[in-house]
Symmetry: C2
Subunit: 263 residues, 2 copies
């Protein structure tokens, strides 16, 4: 019987040329398809929820594939993880992809169209001294960021807006640039980290990174918090801030039920 | 006037083929010599305290070089760090080496012969679930480690011993395999991390990694804590445990005064 199998995937984006399969490059999709094809003994193509860029990480990426397979669903996770580990040179080192979960979904389930929301986290290290061990995992900013001002700016992203000003050229063309942001939380964590948690119903190409780049400029005092509203209304990319670098960004989760709202 | 300049160096060992200069390979020594030679306008060769292996990290490596230079000592740190950053593709990402300090030492100072002690830290992640983001920075062990047993075993390393059983073949030949261990501290830290801090007057090739591999086998219950004494006396490498992988090891500091003793 044909199964529609949904994977939950973690990866460290450092050594990948992004999610999407590309000839001659190491990508997350390509690496997973190769491992799945070996484990399942047939050519497997997967479809992911989010085409993360090179250097972007994930803890809750989703991807789906269909077919009739000789092994039980519950064995796929371990078999694929073993296959991924077998490709590593250092047997004492983990691979940079991990299948965190495997589920059978209804035949008509689609991981992207059925997604109700996504949670992205962006992590800034706001410290005077560089931390070279975090260079692939944080956006490091050595000047003090005013998180109150950043929060004031971020509130203007809430709700439904046309985010054309917060989109880079070069992404997959979309019918509409209107998106809904459910929540933006900004807080400090130990070791001078600033966490920016954003939940929305969908995101344009580089949207989170341009939102964060703009918030950083507000936090540095280079922009007024109230500018965000004007930037949104302008629909003009050149009015928004810089694109924050990929290594601070994590796809945390994809929701297939509506995410819990703040009450 | 000739200056004898001592550098304190941090590096993430992940993308280096170790400390020591090797033709056609990216090494810490080679990368630093290239940056220093460009900044100082002459061919610079440095001598380090510790020839760390591929994948091993450092927060307190030391290296020295001599010469007459056109720029003040206090400007060398920034100039070299800028040079190292300039070689990176991603301008928003830190380089994987950082000069943490620069000092002028007496003409007869030698960074290795004058070292009174070194502090190495080994970090184990003792968690049931893998953390792929730490794969280059921790030895990940998913079975519970008994740190009390590890501490009991580690106490037998204290003091002066012939560590021939805790040495890999292939290192620089040394006149003696006798070394003194001043302290071994083993403790748990948040997130299921086990820290092993070792301070000694010097270490043989792979000595810390074989000590930790042996302690891990004790922590897993595969060996008795009291075996360590017999392994030391045997002078036989095959009696000791496995060599723990490089990515958990950090050279924390090199002491030129005697390290403070526990009282």
């Amino acid at each position: 019987m044909e199964r529609n199998i949904l994977l939950k995937i973690e990866y460290d984006g450092t050594d990948f040329s992004g999610w999407q399969r590309q000839p001659g490059r190491r990508t997350v999709q390509g690496t997973l398809e190769e491992a799945l094809s070996k484990v399942l003994g047939q050519d497997i193509k997967i479809e992911g929820t989010s085409r993360t860029d090179a250097g972007v990480h994930a803890l809750g990426q989703r991807a789906i594939f269909k077919g009739e397979f000789p092994i039980p669903t519950e064995n796929i996770q371990k078999a694929v993880n073993n296959m991924l580990a077998g490709g590593m040179n250092n047997k004492n080192k983990l691979p940079d992809i991990n299948i965190a979960g495997v589920m059978v979904e209804a035949p008509d389930f689609h991981p992207r169209f059925d997604a109700k929301g996504k949670h992205y986290r962006y992590i800034i290290e706001n410290s005077k001294t560089p931390n070279i061990f975090r260079r692939n995992y944080r956006y490091q900013i050595n000047q003090w960021l005013d998180t109150d001002a950043m929060r004031e700016a971020a509130n203007q992203f809430l709700g439904e807006h046309d985010f054309a000003a917060f989109q880079s050229a070069g992404g997959t063309p979309r019918e509409s640039t209107v998106r809904r942001i459910y929540s933006v939380d900004i807080y400090r964590r130990e070791n001078d980290e600033i966490i920016v948690d954003i939940i929305g119903n969908g995101f344009l190409y580089n949207m989170i990174r341009i939102m964060v780049g703009t918030l950083v400029e507000v936090g540095l005092g280079k922009r007024e918090p109230m500018e965000v509203d004007r930037i949104l209304k302008s629909l003009d990319r050149s009015r928004a801030g810089h694109t924050a670098p990929p290594q601070g960004l994590y796809l945390m989760d994809v929701y297939y039920e509506f995410p819990e709202m703040e009450i």
